[in-house]
C-alpha cells in the first residue's frame, strides 16, 4: 500500500513538474485534465509508467524516483505521441519504448548538465526525443494519425473568448498538448491557485512575447494564433520565478529572456517546419539554460541556490535566509576573551588600506574610554598587555614568529611591521594572520593543530604597534602581508546584543561568547530522542504531540512529527531552526517561539532574528504578501526580537508583516535536557515525556 502511494505520488509529481511545481494535488488535476483528450491522457500516463517501471527495474534509488524529476520528460514525450496518434496496440508499444528512451536520455543529460555546468535539464530530453520521434514516424505508416480529426473542445468558450485571451489560454493548454480554451482556463486557475507569481509571469511572458511578434509580423491575430507561444510562458516562469529569486531585477531579466526566445522560436519554426516537426520547447530550453549559465558566471545576486516547491516558498526562504545569515562564509571567532574595543576596522583610518584593508585591531578600554591606567607610559599600564590571545578558527599553524621584543611606549618597529605573529590555515581555504604578540609568549608551534579558542599567546606590543593591541586579518595565501580577504565575526555580544555573524563597527565594545556547555548540552539532540508535549490553548488542554529526532540524507537533523519536519542545527554559539517542511502547527510554534537560541546563559542579552512568512503569517495573507514582496523585498520577512531572561529562559516578540499586533513568545529549557515549555501568544506546549531512543 505504502509502495503504491509512493508510486502514485511520484507519477503525479511528474505532471506538476511541468509547471515547475511539486504538489501531488496539482499533479492529480493536471492528470485528469489530460483526459480531455483521452488519447493524450492514456499516452501520457503510459509513458510515465514505462519510465518509472524501467527505473524500478534498474533498482534506482528511491529518493530519485519520489520527485518525478526523471519522469516528467517521459510524460511530455508521451503526450506528444498521444497528440499525434490514436491509441492502438502499436501506439502503446511505441509510447512505452519512447518513455524508456526519454528516461535514459533524462538521466544522462541530468548527470552531464548537473556535474559539468550545474544547470537543470528542463525539457531538453523531451525536445530532443519528440523531435526524433516526429521525424521517425514519417517512416512508420502503421501508426494511426488522429491529429487530423476533431477533438473534444468546449465550443462556447472557443467562440466567445476574445482572441487575445483565447491565445493565452490555448498556449497555456498547449504546454500539455491541449491547445484549447477550456484546458487553458483550468491551468490558469491552477497556476493562480498555487502561485500568484507564476501566474503573473505566465501572463507577462505571453503578452510580451506576443506583442514583440506583433511588432515584427504586423498582425495581432497572427501574433496570438501561434500555439508555440507557450514557450514565452515557460521562459518567463522559469527565469523570473523558478531559477531566479522572484524580484524586480529577475522579472526584467525574464522579459529580456522572452524577447530573446521570440527570435529563437521563429528560427526554429522555420527550420523544423521543413520536416513537419513543431518547435516544441526548444526555444524555452535554449534561452533559459543559456541565461542561467551566464547569470551564474557573472554572479547575478538573485540566482536561486535553493529551489522550493513554489516561487513563493523559494522567495520566502531566500529573504529569510538573507536576513537571518548576513556576514560572510569566512567566519572567525573574536580572538580573545572578555570585552575588547574595536580600534580599527575594515578600510580603517590608519593602516588598514589598499590590499590590507580587511583587518581588525582590538584594544581594551575602561569606563572612561582609556586603554591604560595611570599615565600610560609603561606597557604594564595597558589593559590589553599580556592578555590571552585565542585562536579564532580551527586549523593548522603554518608560521610562528615569537622572538621580537615588545616596543616601549612611543616607539614602533618599522623593520618588522608584523611583530610576533602566527598564521593559521583554515580548512575552508584561507589563512588567518594575528599580530603583535608579546615576546616569547606564543605557545603554539608550526604544524600544531588548533581549535577555536585554543590558547595562542599573549597580547604584546611587537612590530608596528604604538600600543598593545591584537591585529587580525584573513589572507589568500600564507605569506604575511599577502592580499587580505573579507571576513566576519561569529557569536559575539556588543551593547548587550548577541550577533551571530556580523562586523562590529569601530569603537564598539565586543565580547566573544563561547557556547555555555550547560545550555548547549540541553540542546544537543541526538537521533531517536523523542519528546512528547501537552498542548494548551488558553490554558485549556488541546491534545498532545510527539516529535522524534531524525537525520536527513545530507546529514542535517530534524524533528519529525509525521506531519512536518523542522530542521535544526548548531553553528558556532547558536542553536537554529532552519526551515519547516510540511505543515505542522506545533513545529511552527516551536520555530516562531525562538527561531534561534544563543547558547549563553547571561541575562538581558537581546538578539534579532527573522521568520519566514510560512511560519509567521496565515496562508491567505502570506500569498498576497509574498507576491508584493517579490517586487519589494523589504516587506518579505517578519522580525523576531528575543531576550534572554535568565539561564535557559528566553522571551521574544514576533512582529508579523502587515500586522499591528506583535505576538509574545517564551521558551524555557528543561533543567536537564530538551525544551520544557514553548509559548506563543495564548498557546503553550509543555514537555511531559522524554525518551532517549534505543541505547
Amino acid at each position: 500500500m505504502k509502495a503504491l502511494t509512493a508510486i502514485v505520488r511520484a507519477v503525479l509529481h511528474s505532471y506538476a513538474e511541468i509547471f515547475f511545481l511539486q504538489s501531488p494535488v496539482v499533479g492529480a488535476i493536471l492528470f485528469l485534465t489530460t483526459f480531455l483528450n483521452p488519447t493524450l491522457g492514456v499516452a501520457g500516463i503510459l509513458s510515465v509508467l514505462a519510465a518509472y517501471a524501467f527505473a524500478k527495474f534498474l533498482k534506482m534509488d528511491k529518493t530519485f524516483l519520489e520527485t518525478g524529476f526523471y519522469t516528467y520528460n517521459a510524460l511530455l514525450v508521451g503526450l506528444s505521441i498521444g497528440f499525434l496518434f490514436k491509441i492502438s496496440v502499436i501506439t502503446i508499444f511505441f509510447v512505452l519504448v519512447a518513455g524508456v528512451l526519454t528516461f535514459v536520455v533524462s538521466v544522462l543529460l541530468a548527470n552531464v548538465f548537473g556535474t559539468y555546468f550545474r544547470l537543470p535539464i528542463l525539457s531538453i530530453p523531451f525536445a530532443i526525443i519528440s523531435s526524433v520521434l516526429y521525424l521517425s514516424v514519417s517512416r512508420y505508416t502503421n501508426l494511426f494519425v488522429t491529429s487530423l480529426y476533431p477533438k473534444f473542445t468546449l465550443q462556447v468558450l472557443e467562440e466567445n473568448v476574445p482572441y487575445f485571451l483565447a491565445g493565452y489560454f490555448k498556449s497555456l493548454g498547449a504546454i500539455f498538448f491541449l491547445p484549447n480554451v477550456l484546458a487553458g482556463c483550468i491551468f490558469a486557475l491552477l497556476l493562480f491557485g498555487t502561485s500568484r507569481i507564476l501566474f503573473f509571469l505566465s501572463l507577462v511572458g505571453y503578452y510580451t512575447g506576443s506583442a514583440f511578434l506583433f511588432i515584427l509580423k504586423g498582425s495581432w491575430y497572427a501574433a496570438f494564433a501561434d500555439l508555440s507561444n507557450f514557450n514565452f510562458i515557460l521562459v518567463a516562469m522559469a527565469v523570473g520565478g523558478v531559477f531566479l529569486i522572484p524580484a524586480r531585477q529577475s522579472y526584467w531579466i525574464a522579459l529580456v529572456a522572452v524577447l530573446l526566445s521570440t527570435l529563437v522560436l521563429s528560427a526554429t519554426e522555420v527550420f523544423w517546419a521543413a520536416y513537419g516537426v513543431p518547435a516544441f520547447t526548444l526555444p524555452f530550453n535554449s534561452i533559459t539554460i543559456m541565461l542561467l549559465y551566464v547569470l551564474g558566471l557573472v554572479g547575478f545576486p538573485f540566482v536561486a541556490q535553493v529551489i522550493r516547491k513554489t516561487p513563493e516558498e523559494t522567495l520566502d526562504h531566500f529573504l529569510t535566509f538573507q536576513k537571518r545569515f548576513p556576514g560572510t562564509l569566512r567566519t572567525l571567532h573574536l580572538p580573545f576573551a572578555g570585552e575588547w574595543t574595536v580600534w580599527q576596522g575594515f578600510d580603517g583610518r590608519w593602516t588598514h588600506k589598499g590590499q590590507l584593508k580587511y583587518a581588525y585591531d582590538f584594544v581594551i578600554t575602561d569606563e572612561q574610554g582609556k586603554t591604560h591606567t595611570e599615565d600610560g607610559s609603561e606597557l604594564q599600564h595597558y589593559y590589553a598587555y599580556r592578555k590571552p590571545v585565542l585562536s579564532p578558527v580551527r586549523g593548522r599553524v603554518v608560521t610562528v614568529v615569537s622572538h621580537l621584543p615588545d616596543n616601549p611606549i612611543g616607539q614602533v618597529d618599522r623593520e618588522n611591521n608584523w611583530g610576533n605573529y602566527v598564521v593559521i590555515y583554515d580548512l575552508r581555504g584561507f589563512y588567518v594572520e594575528i599580530s603583535h604578540f608579546a615576546q616569547d609568549s606564543l605557545k603554539v608551534r608550526e604544524g600544531d593543530w588548533v581549535e577555536v579558542g585554543s590558547f595562542l599567546g599573549l597580547c604584546g606590543n611587537s612590530g608596528y604597534s604604538p600600543q598593545p593591541h591584537i591585529h587580525v586579518q584573513v589572507q589568500r595565501t600564507a605569506e604575511v602581508g599577502s592580499p587580505t580577504l573579507p571576513f566576519s565575526f561569529v557569536s559575539y555580544v556588543a551593547n548587550q546584543e548577541f550577533h551571530a555573524n556580523d562586523l562590529p563597527p569601530e569603537k564598539s565594545k565586543v565580547r566573544p561568547v563561547f557556547a555555555d556547555s550547560a545550555i548547549a548540552n540541553r540542546l544537543s539532540f541526538y537521533l531517536d530522542n523523542t519528546f512528547t508535549y501537552q498542548v494548551f490553548d488558553q490554558d485549556r488542554q488541546a491534545g498532545s504531540v510527539s516529535m522524534t529526532v531524525k537525520m536527513a540524507v545530507d546529514g542535517t537533523f530534524y524533528f519529525d512529527t509525521g506531519k512536518g519536519k523542522l530542521y535544526f542545527g548548531r553553528d558556532a554559539g547558536t542553536f537554529y531552526y532552519y526551515r519547516l517542511d510540511g505543515r505542522d502547527p506545533h513545529l511552527q510554534m516551536m520555530f516562531s517561539a525562538a527561531p534561534r537560541i544563543p547558547l549563553i546563559a547571561e541575562k538581558d542579552i537581546r538578539f534579532t532574528d527573522f521568520l519566514p512568512l510560512k511560519i509567521s503569517v496565515g496562508t491567505f495573507r502570506r500569498s498576497v504578501l509574498l507576491f508584493f514582496a517579490s517586487f519589494h523585498h523589504a516587506v518579505g520577512t517578519s522580525r523576531f526580537v528575543g531576550t534572554i531572561r535568565s539561564r535557559g529562559v528566553l522571551e521574544g516578540t514576533v512582529y508579523p508583516v502587515g500586522s499591528a499586533t506583535p505576538i509574545a513568545t517564551r521558551v524555557v529549557l528543561d533543567d536537564i535536557f530538551g525544551i520544557r515549555e514553548i509559548r506563543v501568544g495564548d498557546r503553550k506546549m509543555v514537555l511531559v515525556e522524554t525518551t532517549f531512543g534505543e541505547d
Partner: protein
C-alpha cells in the same frame, strides 16, 4: 590657651627616614578628612560616632577590576558574592547589580538572598550544614547546591524523590595545593579517592546530576600558584569524571580566599609590597585553565570573592574619648569602638588615619575599645602624635566580615552609611537602640518588676 598638663616621657627620636619595613614613622601619620568627598566631620555630625562608612564607588571599582582581570583572560567567568563577608542588603544589591550571583552557606543567608529578590538559579549554596527544609526549597528553586558530605547526598536524593525531579548539583572537593594549612574539612578529599566514591554514590542513586566541582583552598591565600594547582587538579578531575561517569561538568568553582589589601598581623612588609596583584592571580589561574582544558572547552569559572572586593570599601570612624598613660610609659587611647565592631582586629593591623593634622612627634601608643574586657584592643602598638580628646580615628580596610561577625556586647551597634557614587550619603543600617535588643525577649509575668515596686 593654656596647654593641658602632660606627664613628661622619654621617647626615641625617629628621624623620619624610611625604615627597613617600608614605613616612615613621621610621615606615616596619615590624615583623612573625607571619604569619597564627604567630610568626616559632616558624617559624624549627621550620623554619630562610631560610624561605619562604605564607599559605593570603591565597591564597584574593586569588583570591576577583579572581574576584568579574569574576564579579559577567560571567556566564561561568573562571580558569586560571598554573603558571609558582608550581607548588608545595600552591599549585596550593589554587587548583584554588577552581575554577581549570591554565594550563601546557611539557611539564613539563603533566605536573605531570596528576600533580596535573587532567583534560586543565581544562588550558589555551599556550607556544611544545610537543613532539609531549605535544601528542598533550594532544589525546587533551581539553586546550585554544592554537596559537602555523604549524608547530604542522601538528603538531596530524598528531596529529589519528593519533588519528582532530578537535581543538578556540584560537589565540594578538598585537595593538596601545596599550601599550609590544607583545608580538609569541606567536601570530599581528592587524593584519597573520596571524590570518586562520592561521584559513584551520586550516579548509583540516579536522582542527582553532577554538573560542577567546587573547591575552597583557604583564606587570604598569598600564593597565586596554589590556585593554579587547584585549577589544574579540578580540570583533571572534571575530565576523569566525564570520562568515567558520563556527566558533563559545566562549572569549576575555585572558591574564594583572594586577599584584600589588608595587613595580617605578624607581617612586616606593607600589603602593596607583600601581596601579588589580582592580575597575577588571574594570569596563573587562567593559564592553568588553558594548559589543561581541551581547546574550545570553556566550563564556567566561578569565583566566590568576598574580602578582595568589599574590605577596602569599608571604613570605621571612631572618636577618641579618653587618653591615659600606661605603666610601661606608652600612651593609651580609648576609642568609642572596639572589637565588638571590629572583629577582624584580631588578625589585621589596620591603617589608622586621623581626621586632622596634629602637632608633636609620633609616640608609641595602644588603642583600646570601650568594652570592659582586656582583649578589647584595636591596635596594640602604633605610632601617633599626641591625640586630643575628640579626635576622630578612621580605621580601614574594614568592609569584610565586621558587619557579619560584630557582636552586640554592652553597646549598641552604630549606623552604617554608604557614600554613593553621586556624592549623597545613605543610611544602610540604622543605629540600634534598646528596642532592637529586647524585641525578642519575653519577661515572664511573675518576674515583672513594676509589680514588685507597686507593692
Amino acid at each position: 590657651m593654656k596647654k593641658p598638663y602632660e606627664k613628661p616621657v622619654i621617647t626615641k627620636v625617629e628621624t623620619g627616614l624610611m625604615n627597613k619595613f617600608g614605613n616612615a614613622p613621621y610621615y606615616a601619620r596619615k590624615v583623612r578628612t573625607a571619604i569619597d568627598g564627604v567630610s568626616i566631620d559632616a558624617l559624624v555630625q549627621q550620623f554619630g560616632s562610631p560610624l561605619f562608612v562604605l564607599s559605593e564607588r570603591q565597591l564597584r571599582e574593586n569588583y570591576r577590576k577583579l572581574y576584568r582581570a579574569f574576564a579579559a583572560r577567560y571567556p566564561n567567568v561568573q562571580f558569586g558574592w560571598s554573603y558571609k563577608t558582608n550581607y548588608l542588603q545595600a552591599v549585596c544589591a550593589v554587587l548583584h547589580q554588577e552581575g554577581a550571583f549570591a554565594e550563601v552557606v546557611s539557611l539564613m543567608e539563603y533566605e536573605k538572598a531570596r528576600r533580596l529578590g535573587i532567583p534560586g538559579e543565581k544562588i550558589i549554596f555551599n556550607g556544611p550544614y544545610k537543613p532539609v527544609e531549605i535544601l528542598e526549597q533550594a532544589a525546587a528553586e533551581g539553586a546550585l547546591i554544592n554537596i559537602d558530605h555523604f549524608d547530604e547526598i542522601a538528603d538531596l536524593e530524598a528531596v529529589a524523590k519528593k519533588l519528582g525531579k532530578q537535581i543538578r548539583v556540584g560537589i565540594r572537593v578538598n585537595m593538596d595545593t601545596g599550601i599550609y594549612p590544607q583545608w580538609s574539612r569541606f567536601g570530599f578529599n581528592l587524593e584519597t579517592g573520596q571524590v570518586m566514591d562520592a561521584v559513584k554514590r551520586i550516579q548509583a542513586g540516579g536522582h542527582l546530576v553532577l554538573t560542577g566541582l567546587h573547591c575552597h583552598i583557604g583564606t587570604f591565600i598569598m600564593e597565586p600558584d596554589a590556585y593554579a594547582q587547584e585549577t589544574a587538579k579540578l580540570v583533571q578531575l572534571k575530565y576523569s569524571i566525564e570520562e568515567h561517569f558520563g556527566y558533563q561538568i559545566e562549572f569549576l568553582d575555585i572558591g574564594g580566599g583572594l586577599p584584600s589589601r589588608n595587613r595580617l598581623k605578624g607581617t612586616y612588609l606593607p600589603p602593596e609590597i607583600l601581596l601579588p596583584s589580582v592580575e597575577e592571580y588571574a594570569e596563573k589561574i587562567t593559564q592553568a585553565l588553558y594548559d589543561h582544558l581541551k581547546p574550545g572547552d570553556f566550563p564556567t569559572l566561578v569565583l566566590e570573592n568576598g574580602r578582595a572586593i568589599v574590605d577596602e570599601a569599608g571604613y570605621l570612624i571612631t572618636t577618641v574619648v579618653a587618653s591615659k598613660r600606661l605603666p610601661d610609659g606608652r600612651k593609651a587611647y580609648i576609642a568609642d569602638a572596639g572589637v565588638n565592631l571590629l572583629f577582624t582586629a584580631f588578625w589585621y593591623k589596620f591603617t589608622v588615619e586621623m581626621d586632622r593634622d596634629l602637632p608633636g612627634v609620633n609616640e608609641s601608643c595602644v588603642i583600646y575599645g570601650p568594652l570592659c574586657m582586656n582583649i578589647d584592643v584595636l591596635d596594640e602598638g602604633t605610632s601617633l602624635p599626641p591625640l586630643e580628646r575628640g579626635t576622630r580615628l578612621i580605621f580601614s580596610p574594614v568592609g569584610a566580615y565586621n558587619q557579619t561577625q560584630w557582636m552586640q556586647f554592652i553597646e549598641y551597634r552604630p549606623s552604617v552609611v554608604m557614600v554613593m557614587e553621586d556624592g549623597t550619603v545613605e543610611v544602610i543600617r540604622e543605629q540600634e537602640d534598646l528596642s532592637d535588643i529586647e524585641r525578642r525577649e519575653r519577661l515572664p509575668e511573675k518576674l515583672q518588676l513594676n509589680s514588685i515596686a507597686a507593692e
